[in-house]
C-alpha cells in the first residue's frame, strides 16, 4: 500500500485518471472506444464538498464510479487519505470501503425492493460483521440523523415516497461513519419541494459530521449551494474549476457560460439576463471526440488554434482555472445581459 503525505488536510486526491470503454478494433479502422474520462485531476479536503457538473456524456458519473472503485481506471491514481486506491486488492478495498460511501440518483432503484428499510440501512453493518444489538442501535441513530421516523423500519421501499426513499439511501450511506460521500445526482429525481428538503439534509449533515462530498449533478445552482468548489466537465475533461460563486458570476470557459445562462440563479434573472446562450448542434459522441479542444465544435469563440492543441487548466495552482485558449472576460455575462454585441451560438 502506497501512502502519500499531503499538504493541506486533503481527503481525496485524484490524479490524471483516464477511463475508456470498449475495444479498439484491429480489423476496422474505426475504433469503438468510448472516451469517457481523460486526464482528470482534482482534490477534496476534509469537510469540503466538490461538485462535478456536466451533461450526459461528460464523464462525471464515470469519475464517481472510478473513485468508488466500481470501475478500474485505465490510468492515473486515486488517493483516499493517502491510501492509493487503484491498485488495492480486494482485502484492502474491503477495509477502506467504510470510509467512502455512496448515495445514488434514483431513490426507488437504489434500495433493494425486496428488503424492508431496516435491512437496507443495516446492510453495510452486517457485511462488516457488526452484531445485532450494535446494528439496531446504529440504525436508530442514523434514522434520527436523516429525519426518518422509526415507523418506517419495517416497510418496503416502494411504500415510501421519493423523498423518504432518498433519506433511507442517505442513512445507509452514513451508517459506517464514512469520511467521504460520493453522491451521484441525489436530488435530480425528486420533486422540487422535496429536493429542497433533501438538500437541506445534506447541508446539515456536512456540517455536523464534517463530511466531504463528491457531488455529481447537472444542476449548477444546486451544486453551488452545497459545494465550496465546482468542476465543470465536458466530454471527459474538466474544463473549469473554481468556487461556485465565481463560476456563476465570472465564468471563464464558454461552456460554463452557456450552462450558467441555461440555469439562471433566480427567476427574475431568467427574464432579465438578456439572451440565453444557445449552443449550436448536439454534443459530439464520446466515441469520436473532436481533436484539440473537445468543446470547439459548439463553441461560439472557437478559432483554428482550438483544433490543434488541447488546452490545460490554467492558471495552474489558482483557485479558479479554466482549460481554454480564449477564456472569457470577467464581465462577459453582465455585458450580454446589457445587450452588448457578444457572440451567440
Amino acid at each position: 500500500m502506497m501512502t502519500v503525505k499531503a499538504a493541506r488536510d486533503e481527503l481525496l486526491r485524484v490524479e490524471r485518471i483516464r477511463k475508456h470503454f470498449g475495444k479498439r478494433s484491429r480489423i476496422r479502422k474505426v475504433s469503438r472506444v468510448v472516451h469517457a474520462v481523460d486526464d482528470v485531476s482534482f482534490e477534496i479536503g476534509r469537510g469540503e464538498a466538490l461538485g462535478l457538473v456536466g451533461e450526459s456524456g461528460s464523464g462525471k458519473s464515470t469519475i464517481a464510479r472510478c473513485v468508488l472503485r466500481l470501475e478500474r481506471v485505465d490510468d492515473g491514481l486515486i488517493y483516499l487519505d493517502g491510501v492509493e486506491l487503484t491498485r488495492l486488492g480486494s482485502r484492502g478495498l474491503r477495509e477502506i470501503r467504510p470510509r467512502m460511501q455512496a448515495v445514488f440518483q434514483d431513490p426507488a432503484s437504489s434500495l433493494n425492493p425486496r428488503w424492508p428499510i431496516h435491512q437496507v440501512i443495516e446492510e453495510p453493518l452486517r457485511v462488516h460483521g457488526w452484531g445485532a444489538a450494535e446494528r439496531r442501535d446504529r440504525v436508530l441513530e442514523v434514522l434520527e440523523e436523516v429525519g426518518l421516523s422509526h415507523r418506517y423500519l419495517n416497510v418496503l421501499p416502494h411504500q415510501l415516497s421519493g423523498g423518504q426513499q432518498q433519506r433511507a439511501g442517505i442513512a445507509r450511506a452514513l451508517v459506517l461513519r464514512p469520511e467521504l460521500i460520493v453522491a451521484d445526482e441525489p436530488v435530480s429525481a425528486l420533486d422540487v419541494s422535496i429536493q429542497a428538503q433533501v438538500l437541506n439534509l445534506l447541508v446539515a449533515l456536512k456540517k455536523e459530521l464534517r463530511l466531504s462530498y463528491l457531488f455529481i449533478s447537472h444542476d449548477l445552482r444546486v451544486t453551488r449551494h452545497l459545494c465550496e468548489n465546482v468542476a465543470v466537465c465536458y466530454l471527459g475533461n474538466i474544463v473549469e474549476v473554481g468556487a461556485g460563486d465565481a463560476l456563476f458570476t465570472n465564468p471563464l470557459h464558454p461552456y460554463t457560460a452557456s450552462l450558467v445562462s441555461a440555469m439562471p440563479l433566480s427567476v427574475e434573472d431568467a427574464r432579465q439576463r438578456g439572451q440565453t446562450i444557445v449552443l449550436a448542434g448536439d454534443p459530439p459522441s464520446p466515441l469520436e471526440p473532436p481533436s484539440g479542444c473537445r468543446f470547439r465544435t459548439r463553441c461560439f469563440r472557437a478559432q483554428t488554434q482550438c483544433a490543434e492543441g488541447t488546452p490545460k487548466l490554467e492558471p495552474a495552482g489558482a483557485a479558479h482555472r479554466a482549460a481554454c485558449f480564449f477564456p472569457l472576460d470577467p464581465d462577459f455575462l453582465r455585458d450580454r445581459a446589457a445587450g452588448s454585441p457578444g457572440s451567440t451560438g
Binding site: 425492493p113 446492510e123 426518518l148 416502494h158 411504500q159 439534509l201 446539515a204
Partner: protein, 298 residues
C-alpha cells in the same frame, strides 16, 4: 429565512398491508386464477391421500371386469387388465407430479447458478457458459431425452434426469438476462460499495430479485414437465408397467380406441393440471411484478 430541519413523517405512499391487498386484487383481476387454485388444491389432496381415497389398489387385477365402461362400481371404468382407472389416475399423480416437480427444481437450481455466474462475471466465463447452454438448448427435447434414456436405461429416476438435462438451459438464459439487467441497478452497486463480496451479492442480492421471474416460468414448466414425462413414459423410457403413470396409461389406452375411458381420463388429468398451473403462473407474474414497479399517475 430561519428554516429548520424537521423530522419527516409525511405518511409514505401506502401502508404495510399493501402487499396482501395486492394479492387479493390480483385474484379479482384474473378470475381464471381463482378457478385454478381449487383445482390445484384438490389435486394436492388426491395425490397425498390417494392410498386413502382410491377405491381400489392401482395394481389390483380383475380380468373378468376388464374393459368395463364407467359405471357405479368403477367411476372411470377399467382398463384391459381390469384395473380401476379412477384409482390408477389418482395413484398416477403420485408419480407424474413429483417427477415433474423434481425436474423443474433441478433445472431451476442448475440453470440459475449458471445464469447468475455468467451474467454477473461476463467476459470469457460468460461466453463459455453460454456456449455450453446453447449446445444443450440445440437438442430437440425428446431426442435428447431418448438418448439419455437409452444410455441410462429406462426408469423414473432416469426419466427425471433426462428431462432436467433438457430443461435447465432456458432457466440459465432467463436468469442470465435478468442478472445482466440487475447488475447495474443502483441497489446492487450500493451493496458493492458497502463492501459485500461478489458471491454474497449474487446469492443474497441478485438472486432473490431473479427468483420471481423464474418462479413464474417454473409454475408453467411444471405443467410442461408433466406432459413431457408422460411422453417419455408413453414411449417406454420413464415409468415402466405396471406403474400407474398417466403417460403410460394413455399409451395403453391407445391400443383400445373404442374403450375411450382408458386414455381419456389420464389425459384429462394432465390437461386439468397443466391449465391450472398456467393460470397460476399468470397470477404469480402479476403478483410478483408490481412489487418492483413504481407507478405514478400525474
Amino acid at each position: 429565512m430561519g428554516a429548520e430541519l424537521t423530522t419527516v413523517d409525511d405518511g409514505g405512499r401506502r401502508g404495510p398491508r399493501a402487499a396482501t391487498r395486492t394479492a387479493w386484487a390480483g385474484l379479482r383481476r384474473r378470475p381464471a386464477a381463482l378457478f385454478s387454485l381449487p383445482i390445484l388444491l384438490a389435486w394436492a389432496v388426491v395425490i397425498i391421500l390417494a392410498p386413502v381415497l382410491a377405491p381400489y389398489k392401482p395394481d389390483a387385477l380383475n380380468i373378468p371386469a376388464a374393459l368395463t365402461p364407467p359405471c357405479a362400481a368403477h367411476l372411470f371404468g377399467t382398463d384391459e387388465l381390469g384395473r380401476d382407472v379412477l384409482s390408477r389416475v389418482m395413484y398416477g399423480g403420485r408419480i407424474s407430479v413429483p417427477a415433474a416437480l423434481a425436474v423443474v427444481i433441478m433445472s431451476l437450481v442448475v440453470g440459475s447458478c449458471i445464469g447468475l455466474i455468467g451474467g454477473y462475471r461476463r467476459g470469457w466465463v460468460d461466453d463459455v457458459l453460454m456456449r455450453v447452454t446453447d449446445v444443450f438448448m440445440a437438442f430437440p427435447l425428446i431426442l435428447l431425452a431418448m438418448a439419455i434414456g437409452a444410455s441410462l436405461g429406462p426408469g423414473i429416476v432416469n426419466g427425471i434426469i433426462a428431462l432436467s438435462v433438457v430443461t435447465w438451459p432456458s432457466y440459465a438464459r432467463v436468469t442470465r438476462s435478468v442478472t445482466l439487467e440487475l447488475r447495474n441497478r443502483e441497489f446492487v452497486l450500493a451493496s458493492t460499495v458497502a463492501g459485500r463480496r461478489p458471491v454474497s451479492i449474487l446469492i443474497r442480492v441478485v438472486f432473490p430479485n431473479v427468483l420471481p421471474t423464474i418462479l413464474v416460468m417454473a409454475s408453467v414448466d411444471v405443467g410442461r414437465a408433466i406432459v413431457n414425462f408422460s411422453v417419455l413414459s408413453f414411449i417406454g423410457l420413464a415409468a415402466q408397467p405396471p406403474a400407474a403413470e398417466w403417460g403410460s396409461m394413455v399409451a395403453d389406452g391407445a391400443s383400445y380406441p373404442s374403450q375411450w375411458w382408458i386414455a381419456a381420463f389420464p389425459g384429462l388429468a394432465i390437461f386439468s393440471l397443466v391449465i391450472a398451473l398456467n393460470f397460476l403462473g399468470d397470477w404469480l407474474r402479476d403478483l410478483l411484478d408490481p412489487y418492483m414497479r413504481v407507478r405514478r399517475v400525474v
